[in-house]
Amino acid sequence: MSSDPNQTPATPPGHNDVLGHVDSPPTLIMVWVAVLALFGLTVALSSSGMFGKYTLFVQLAIGTVQAGLVAYHFMHLRHGDRVVVLTALASIFWMGILFVLFMSDYMSRSRVMG
């Protein structure tokens, strides 16, 4: 990183510094395996028809758990300070805008006006 002019030479590993606490490889591998296992579960569910018309909801729930694992471990939310966690939550809120306004169309489309 010698060519990087912004690197202040001696940054003490502060609490905000990701390098300060590296996740151990076993943890990372376990999380990875868990995410893959959940993926397998989703695929299996789609052909088993176990939950009938609710399959989609179950699959979406699994997907949420997967995304949560990735965010918490791989994206280091685990080590994030409050601002980082708030930012992550804000992006979920923003996705809420997408879904709510989507639904304003899909849920009222069949209503007849007047």
Binding site: S3, D4, P5, N6, S91, W94, I97, L98, L101, F102, S104, D105, Y106, M107, S108, R109, R111, M113
Partner: protein, 590 residues
């Protein structure tokens, strides 16, 4: 707040001495091609972007030329109907994804954000270089799609036509858009982190130049919106390649879903295109009217307001696509809301001009053009956002005229204003004052002639994207094509005089416009790390203290060469001249 300034000036620190020309500066430090291709200097990367997007602007312009020439005759003057479809698609894709979106953020933003906030570089210099390479890879796919025969879906890529029926090169084109999106995310991320983490001492949020605020808001949209278009394009490719039903109703998909997802990005994307232009205009208008901005906080917050509200109105593009009537009402209402922050900006710019000491150099002409054309574009946006009128106007030339007023009249003029304003800083050379003013005038005249007739045609029902039209529209189309050729000439002029200025232009001083921002405190062109290591800037006041005649470090402004221009030899020789501080008595209002 309100400081009445009369001709008696308070004693302030003297203007800084002209900084010694940096030896070496960022341009002459190394001439090898390799040093350019591996540079992590934000200024050089800005130049790399400048060169690449200029190429795409010319390519997109050629496509536009084909479209306009073909419309000279009611049943197609030069190309087949199929080729016509491919020409307007190429025009849209090139201009939007490969020119307008990167134009100001990646060229001027890259170059100026670190300088404006008093930093040595962006937060992630290598990511910055990576973003340029990713952009090029994406662009190569786009070019491949076009050279292999083009795409005929329109830039909006609506399925099921794009996924089922079209035989054109949809996949490489869409893949190019997908890839270049990541470059946009990288630039946005970089700018955002830089603004948060690397401001010079004293550069509080309330003292940031408005250009920085507007690019901050833009970055927010880039970060939040672009992933959605990435997913959408992937879904489209999956459907087209693997036949998995997502959007195509024949295989269980929903075509309206595509439009929702597409516009959820693409409406905010129009603000990615306009917000940076608004930032440029705030800088230029204050400098060339020698006034503080009217309502700094209102202008800064309206950028953020546009960024946030801009995410909630996408379905105004879909009023006649079969969405729910109630939802359409809601989106029509929400679309009205976004006019509020836009109007706040316009009123504040007008307030800034009021009783200023205005001079009309090229950047100012472009910026004034921006304001006028953006007002027209924005107001016609309201016509379209009104549910009832849109049913009549949707997919007509009225829409085409609307968005060209905001994108070409607004953003391209904003980009030109910025390029002309900062060109001396970027290159160390002044360009021809006379030719640049002529170019601005030609561009604005050509613009009106091209797009005003389109409003009329559209109102009378000429649909967009049709190669043929009834005889009654002939005269309007001829006018529009004539205007487009004037416009094209206007765009070619800067290519010449700016290039010539590199070799023959007068050497620019550090602060040729006598402006207040930190970027003017280093020599032109700047040294590798922007500022003298020993004297990193310390900010003591807001960004536009023109009335007080001080820069952001609290020092006096140099006399611009334009002061008392009657006896100024540079003026007579057609060089650019600056207004200088306090050209005449200035009344400060607000």
């Amino acid at each position: 707040m309100t400081t009445a300034v009369t001709s008696v000036m308070p004693k302030i620190a003297p203007p800084p001495p002209e900084p010694a020309p940096a030896e070496p500066n960022y341009l002459n430090i190394n001439y090898s091609l390799w040093s350019w291709l591996t540079t992590v200097d934000h200024k050089r990367i800005g130049i790399l972007y400048l060169v690449s997007i200029t190429v795409f602007f010319l390519a997109g312009g050629i496509a536009a030329g084909i479209v306009r020439l073909n419309l000279l005759a009611p049943d197609g003057a030069i190309v087949s109907e199929d080729a016509y479809n491919r020409a307007f698609t190429a025009h849209g894709v090139l201009m939007l994804f490969f020119f307008l979106i990167p134009a100001v953020p990646a060229v001027l933003g890259n170059f100026l954000i670190p300088m404006m906030i008093g930093a040595k570089d962006l937060a992630f210099p290598k990511l910055n270089l990576a973003s340029w390479y990713v952009f090029l890879v994406g662009a190569m796919f786009g070019v491949w799609a076009i050279l292999a025969g083009g795409i005929d879906t329109g830039w909006t890529l609506y399925p099921p036509y794009s996924s089922r029926s079209s035989t054109s090169n949809v996949v490489p084109g869409v893949f190019g858009v997908f890839i270049s999106g990541f470059s946009s995310i990288m630039t946005g991320l970089n700018i955002m982190v830089t603004v948060h983490k690397m401001r010079a001492p004293g550069m509080t949020w309330g003292r940031l130049p408005l250009f920085v605020w507007s690019l901050y808001a833009t970055s927010l949209i880039q970060l939040l919106g672009t992933p959605v278009i990435a997913i959408t394009t992937v879904l489209l490719m999956v459907e087209r390649v693997a036949g998995i039903g997502i959007f195509d109703p024949l295989i269980g998909g929903d075509p309206v879903l595509f439009q929702h997802l597409f516009w959820f990005y693409s409406h905010p994307a129009v603000y990615i295109m306009i917000l940076p232009g608004m930032g440029v205009v705030s800088e230029v208008l204050t400098c060339f009217s020698r006034k503080n901005i009217f309502g700094y906080h209102a202008v800064a917050w309206s950028s953020m307001g546009i960024a946030v509200v801009g995410f909630m109105l996408w379905a105004h593009h879909m009023f006649v696509a079969g969405i729910s009537f109630y939802s359409a009402l809601l989106f029509s209402f929400l679309s009205m809301l976004v006019a509020v922050p836009s109007a706040i900006k316009v009123f504040n710019w007008t307030g800034t001009l009021y009783k200023g000491s205005i001079t009309f150099q090229a950047p100012m002409l472009f910026a004034l053009g921006f304001v006028v054309l953006f007002v027209i574009g924005g107001l016609t946006g309201l016509f379209l956002a009104t549910l009832g009128t849109d049913i009549h106007l949707h997919d007509t030339y009225f829409v085409v005229a609307h968005f060209h007023f905001v994108m070409v009249g607004g953003m391209v003029l904003g980009y030109m204003a910025g390029l002309h304003f900062w060109w001396p800083k970027m290159t160390g050379r002044m360009y021809s004052d006379w030719w640049s003013r002529v170019a601005a005038a030609i561009i604005i005249v050509g613009f009106f002639l091209t797009f005003v007739p389109q409003f009329v045609m559209g109102y009378h029902g000429m649909p967009r994207r049709y190669p043929n039209y009834p005889q009654e529209f002939h005269v309007y189309n001829v006018m529009s094509t004539a205007g487009a050729s004037i416009l094209g000439l206007g765009y070619l002029l800067p290519v010449f005089y700016l290039t010539l200025s590199l070799f023959f232009g007068k050497k620019a001083t550090g602060n040729p416009w006598s402006a207040t921002g930190l970027e003017w405190q280093s020599p032109s062109p700047p040294p590798l790390f922007n500022f003298d290591e020993a004297h990193m800037p310390v900010v003591v006041c807001g960004p536009y203290e023109y009335a007080l005649g001080i820069d952001q470090m609290g020092r006096g402004l140099p006399e611009g060469p334009g002061l008392g221009s009657a006896n100024d030899p540079s003026d007579k020789h057609g060089e650019s001249a600056a207004p200088g501080p306090m050209n005449k008595e200035t009344h400060v209002v607000g």
